[in-house]
């Protein structure tokens, strides 16, 4: 039994099925494209900064920018648990590029106080949960957050992103099961980009599709072309409506591809062919979405180029500023372990401050 995959735009960005075209205001669509462009630029500049030794680490997003569609389909009040390639959602919701750049530099203005690998940031104000590094842990947490929303009688849903690798994690299993049995308003979005570092999807599981798991938890499932902005939007929107109607969770399997190395620490030459990558680059989500907007005459190619240029310059400015800022001070080491610092930890803090004052 072959699973049906929702696709609305073809690989060039033409409407495959006009009946399914969602009705989204022009300005919103353009703003979405701009966000995708920002995400792409952050990728290009981020890896350069890492290569230059200016930031410690880089996680790529290139090729998975269609996730921004989820930000349109959701309300800003809905909670989102990202994996680590979904910062487009925070940006679309208004998390500032400046904050993000400061975070990458782990400088004194970094909200995460220089504690996290660059890219692992969250924002309570934007209902964008601070991600872990251990894979999969957010899936069950998202189910719990959705349950809380139900108890609090709020008209909200929780959406959670994770990879194909994460589908093997324990928290995938408990997350879908707890979400299902409590009928909580949660949307599980698997970004099946075919690779978990060097492990290909066919070695991650013998299942043909991740979406085949939905039935085993008594929840709804749908597979989409994950590089198709409109399909992404539509699936999330429908899942949200179902959730708000009290019909429980949906598992969305987004078929996409990691065209980049896993992170700045990875070299895919050891384990995969360039051909596969090339093939997928044809399905680039930005290209497709941009062409769709050009086809609708919402923008021109020229507009797009300007958009890229403008954002590139903006980012360069922010980077220049961020680079000069100092790192967080020594005493921050002991903040936020608990709300209030207990006596034994205060002693440790004083010991350390004393030592480095002397030294």
């Amino acid at each position: 039994m072959k699973v049906q995959r929702l696709q609305i735009l073809d690989d060039d960005g033409k409407l495959l099925n006009p009946d399914l075209e969602p009705n989204i205001p022009k300005e919103t669509l353009i703003r979405a494209l701009e966000t995708m462009v920002q995400v792409r630029l952050l990728d290009e500049k981020g890896i350069r900064l890492q290569r230059q030794g200016k930031v410690t680490f880089h996680i790529f997003t290139k090729g998975q920018e269609a996730h921004v569609a989820a930000a349109l389909a959701l309300s800003d009040d809905d909670w989102v648990y990202p994996a680590y390639r979904e910062h487009g959602i925070a940006l679309f919701r208004g998390f500032s590029l400046e904050d993000l750049v400061n975070h990458l530099f782990a400088n004194i203005k970094d909200k995460e106080k220089g504690r996290r690998l660059p890219g692992l940031f969250g924002s309570l104000k934007h209902n964008f949960v601070n991600p872990s590094a251990p894979i999969g842990t957010q899936i069950i947490q998202a189910a719990g957050t959705a349950y809380a929303m139900k108890m609090q009688k709020e008209e909200k849903v929780t959406a959670v992103f994770f990879g194909d690798g994460a589908s093997s994690s324990n928290d995938f299993h408990s997350g879908l099961n707890f979400g299902g049995v409590t009928k909580s308003p949660v949307i599980f979005i698997c970004q099946n980009n075919q690779w978990a570092i060097s492990v290909p999807f066919r070695r991650q599981t013998a299942a043909e599709n991740i979406v085949d798991r939905a039935k085993g938890y008594g929840i709804e499932g749908i597979q989409i072309d994950g590089n198709d902005f409109l399909a992404f939007y539509t699936a999330v929107k429908q899942a949200r409506e179902r959730a708000l109607r009290g019909e429980g969770p949906t598992l969305i399997e987004s078929i996409t591809y990691r065209v980049t190395p896993h992170t700045s620490s990875d070299d895919p030459k050891a384990y995969r062919s360039e051909e596969e990558v090339k093939k997928w680059e044809q399905k680039d989500p930005i290209k497709r979405f941009k062409n769709y907007l050009i086809g609708k005459k919402y923008i021109s190619e020229k507009d797009y180029e300007k958009m890229v240029e403008r954002n590139s310059e903006l980012l360069d400015e922010l980077i220049d500023k961020a680079e000069t800022l100092p790192k967080p001070g020594l005493s921050t080491l002991f903040d936020d372990v608990f709300e209030t610092i207990p006596p034994y930890l205060l002693e440790e803090k004083e010991e350390l401050l004393e030592f480095y004052k002397e030294a």
Partner: protein
């Protein structure tokens, strides 16, 4: 005032706190109609319904991860792990998630939740219904640990734990769940986390313990007094993190002798931490070795559990050894 045992006191605390604060939710395996395998949550589902007293699927990382997600969204979950021996599937959600959320998010995302769980030996529960893993969680920055030793403390500490803005592991000494009753006030009172209690004053030897081992320790202190005329000061920690180091220091600088009693395996148990603290701060006061009486470095046995566990006699022997050193 109600005369009740520890099970009753915890039940009372949960009931009152759930009445006071809508955001408190109880979840775990069999906590609903069954009232928990030890009946600690008995009757709560009738009062608060199956949404707030949530019977979960059989998955401990699920229970804790779900509770973390609820706590992030403003609830105050009280998650039960049926026996603390079954907490390991949840280790990742506790160690990597609950304990680190505040820190990793620069203080923005917080996880005010309680993990309640019966622990400890003495009920012929064998390997998997007997263990005391407090040192493992004590080594995990970002989580507090409370261990009551009687019904009064159980209620007062649990209320503090539920109201705490950070995750708290609340370890319930199941061996004394129903061992004795005590007057417990109805309504609100709290015992702060981080304050030890000197339950017996003495001048010769300092004994430190918590949970069900406190009673073994107290029995030993009594025997030491009666049989050997040795005066023991007994400190009940009540919370392990934060630890009340000051109270320990005050006592040990007075007595010059120190023994801690805990039932977990010896190596890297919490008694090791207590010994290390005394040895790095007050060694010049010490008139004898810094001792610990503990379980042994074996899995928890069944038939031989009374030999495995510290007994008043074993503690007494160490008291005498320390005193006569």
């Amino acid at each position: 005032m109600v005369e009740t045992n520890m099970v009753g006191a915890i039940n009372m605390a949960l009931r009152e706190e759930m009445e006071r604060d809508e955001s408190v939710v109880v979840l775990g395996e069999d906590v609903g109609k069954d009232g928990g395998v030890f009946k600690v949550t008995a009757g709560l589902i009738d009062k608060f319904g199956p949404e707030r007293i949530l019977d979960t699927p059989l998955n401990e990382s699920g229970i804790i991860g779900f509770a973390v997600g609820m706590a992030l969204k403003g609830m105050r979950p009280v998650a039960e792990i049926q026996f603390i021996d079954f907490i390991w599937p949840a280790a990742d959600q506790i160690i990597s998630e609950a304990a680190k959320f505040r820190y990793r998010s620069g203080g923005e995302f917080t996880v005010p939740m309680v993990i309640r769980s019966p622990y400890g030996g003495g009920v012929k529960g064998a390997h998997y219904h007997s263990q005391s893993p407090e040192s493992i969680f004590a080594h995990t920055a970002g989580i507090k640990i409370a261990v009551p030793s009687n019904p009064y403390e159980a209620k007062g500490l649990l209320l503090s734990a539920i109201r705490d803005p950070d995750p708290v592991l609340f370890m319930e000494p199941k061996r004394i769940y129903r061992a004795f009753t005590q007057e417990v006030p109805e309504g609100e009172y709290t015992i702060p986390l981080g304050e030890a209690d000197v339950v017996r004053e003495g001048s010769d030897v300092t004994l430190v313990s918590y949970g069900s081992m406190l009673h073994v320790t107290l029995d030993a202190a009594l025997m030491a007094e009666e049989q050997h005329g040795i005066s023991c000061e007994v400190i009940n920690l009540r919370s392990i993190v934060p630890l009340d180091i000051e109270t320990i220091g005050r006592s040990v600088t007075k007595t010059g002798r120190f023994i801690s009693v805990s039932e977990a395996p010896r190596t890297a148990g919490f008694s090791a931490e207590l010994s290390a603290l005394v040895a790095e701060r007050w060694i010049e006061y010490m008139e004898s070795p810094i001792f610990r009486v503990t379980g042994y470095d074996t899995p928890f046995p069944m038939i031989l559990e009374s030999q495995y566990l510290p007994t008043p006699e074993r503690v007494l022997a160490k008291i005498v050894e320390s005193y006569n050193y």
